[in-house]
Amino acid sequence: MTSDHIHPEPTTFLKKHVFSVDHKVIAKQFLWFGLVWLGIGGIMAMMLRWQLANPGVPVPLFGKLLFPRTSGVIDPASYNTLFTMHGTIMIFLGLTPAMIGALGNWSIPLMIGARDMIFPTLNMLSFWTMVMGGAVGFYSLFVPLGATEAGWTGYPTLSTTVGAVGQGETLWAIAVFLIGASSIMGGINYITTVIRLRCPGMHWMRLPLTVWGLFLTSILNVLFIPVIGSAMIILVLDRVFGTTFYVPASIMSGGTGGDPILYQHLFWIFGHPEVYILILPAWGVVCDLLSFFARKPAFGYRASVGAMVAVTVLSAVVYGHHMFTTGLSAMLGESFMLLTMIISVPAEVLFFNWLHTLWKGNLRLTTPMLFAMSVIFVFGLGGLTGIYLATIGTDIFLHDTYFVVGHFHLTMAASALFGTFAAVYFWFPKMFGRMMSERLGKLHFWLSFVPLVIVFCIMFISGYAGMPRRYYDHTSTEYLRPLQHLNVATSVAAFLLGAAQLIFVYNFIKSRWWGEPAPQNPWEVGTLDWTTETPVPHYNFKTIPVVQCGPHEFSNPVLGPDTDWIYQTEKLPG
């Protein structure tokens, strides 16, 4: 039983590259899959920004191809579909596979000294279930009577047959369900692997913080995705079998009805933990990378772990702050407000630890380090603006404005995305055996970071001025017309941000096949993944390593003057 996860090296192409059960291959599959979808979701964002800056002007380049009926102009229905699918794709098909699927599969077994995930077949199923989810989601764009238009949150009654007649919405719900099932399979695998397959000496307080982040994310995945699964099942029942779970009596042809707010409860019970599902791995990566490149131990390791555990627990009991405007009782509203505010305490602990890790460090400003540091800044901006949204009084004013859009993009989207970039730049040498270009990487960083901050900071201003989200054309509303220049500025910055990603694509593809061969340990860090050779052999480690010290033993005076790091498998002298 103990060695069920050991499997022979595959020999056929299909088993090696397609239906592989090797965690390293699955990680690469998830990475490619996630990056492609990030690209698709990004192009959708570009089209949204085009429409907002130039309402009614045909989309250049490929507009006529995508919207032939309106000769290239995005019609209102397509606009709705675009922002719905942009959100769904970025969260479920972009960041989830790239951050959790790829990073988790790659780093967990290698960092804890295991030969593979504990359930390799389940791992493969997890990937292919996600591919199925992606296929169903993509197909939903081309069905009769229209694609989904209800926003990524899919609120009823917009998402019931009352608001969306097309099959697209049903397929959207099924796609979310499938992707959720994939994440649950991954989550079960990650948790069990971390519990069972740590190598000797790797006790909990010696785990790299990346593994901690992924472990806690998996717990949230396993506990809360089933709830959105239930919500989606009920939505499909309402749409296909004519039940009225979410359809209120007032729009029924007489008789009794259900409760659209019920969906919001079920959705946000999952939805709020989802924010932390995406951000916890990024936090873990940031904790580790700051230490690696500041050549200092991660400050307050135990406090960081405790803070991440606290956030995990608290994230389950704050979801009501998404629903302040639904007529929540005052007592519930205030409780959720208080609990939400409490989350900032562990978040502050993490910030303090990050800044103190950098303090007086011997900083090496490599691309992964720059991205890791930018997460602090970007998440800080998002976190501080979150306080306005957690407070009932201000939230009622700011709800459903661009302020919210700016806030959640900075916290869960940009931070998770930059965390993913940091991880990709950092593990690329081990993953593909080649170095990425540092020069292009830094260019990519600056050309992404600056426009990104501009894009979402302008959104704070326009949202504060009262610009609602999800409007097709702000110039059609009298009081919003003076704000149009803000929309134009946002879009210009957004196009720059989009263009900068082409540098990443070029760098990634070029380095993947023609990059400089990577040494075993280019970053001089001591975690177990860098103790094994590059490219990583089929069984990861010749013999299972024995861990002798923590993951961040940098600049320890006992190491002497010649070196500032040791491997986790080495014993600290003295």
């Binding site: 103990t2 069972r196 397959l197 396993v222 089933p226 004519g242 409860h265 013999t543």
Partner: protein
Amino acid sequence: MDSGHVAAADHAAPQTSVPEDPHFGKASGGKVGMWIFIAQDGMSFGGLLFAYGILRATATEWPVPSDILGIALTAIATFILICSSLSMVFAVEAAEKRDQVGLVRWLMVTIAGGLLFLGVQVWEYMHLVHAGIGFAECTWEGETVNSLFGSTFYAVTGFHGMHVTAGVIYLMCILRGAMKGKYTQGGTSSSPVELVGLFWHFVDLVWILVFTFIYLL
């Protein structure tokens, strides 16, 4: 030709040379995984029961369940399901004692219990639909009742019924292996039986909750 042989040998080499790696804890990976799976499955039932609770609590009218649903029959079905949990315990015990005949016998009893339960459920559904309690529209004795009564009833019990079906299929797969003597070789060979037992007990436990909330309260 020769080098091909060498390469083939190299491919096979790691499999035999990989040692039994040391692991933490005594619970097998399968057991930890099953417990986590049960936790997530519990949450999905939680979602449905939460929906049921909110819809019922906020409804203007809701029929008394015991007026419509046959409590007596379902109580018998519940008893059968609990008994099948007991026979599952005996099956696990038999597997650990390397008693193949006992294992096969108790697995068969458990499967029979699950099938009986499903049979009762199907009969109940047919009876209710015939009497006017549909999935999307409900009438009872000529009067319209809240359609959500039928919707929640079929959604929750149907979801549970699918779990019983999955459990029976899972048990049948285990029975196949048990007949070949796979789980009665001592050591850890009995653990797949233990795992199916965990799942089966979970399905039974959830039924107790479903029975209480949907039928009795």
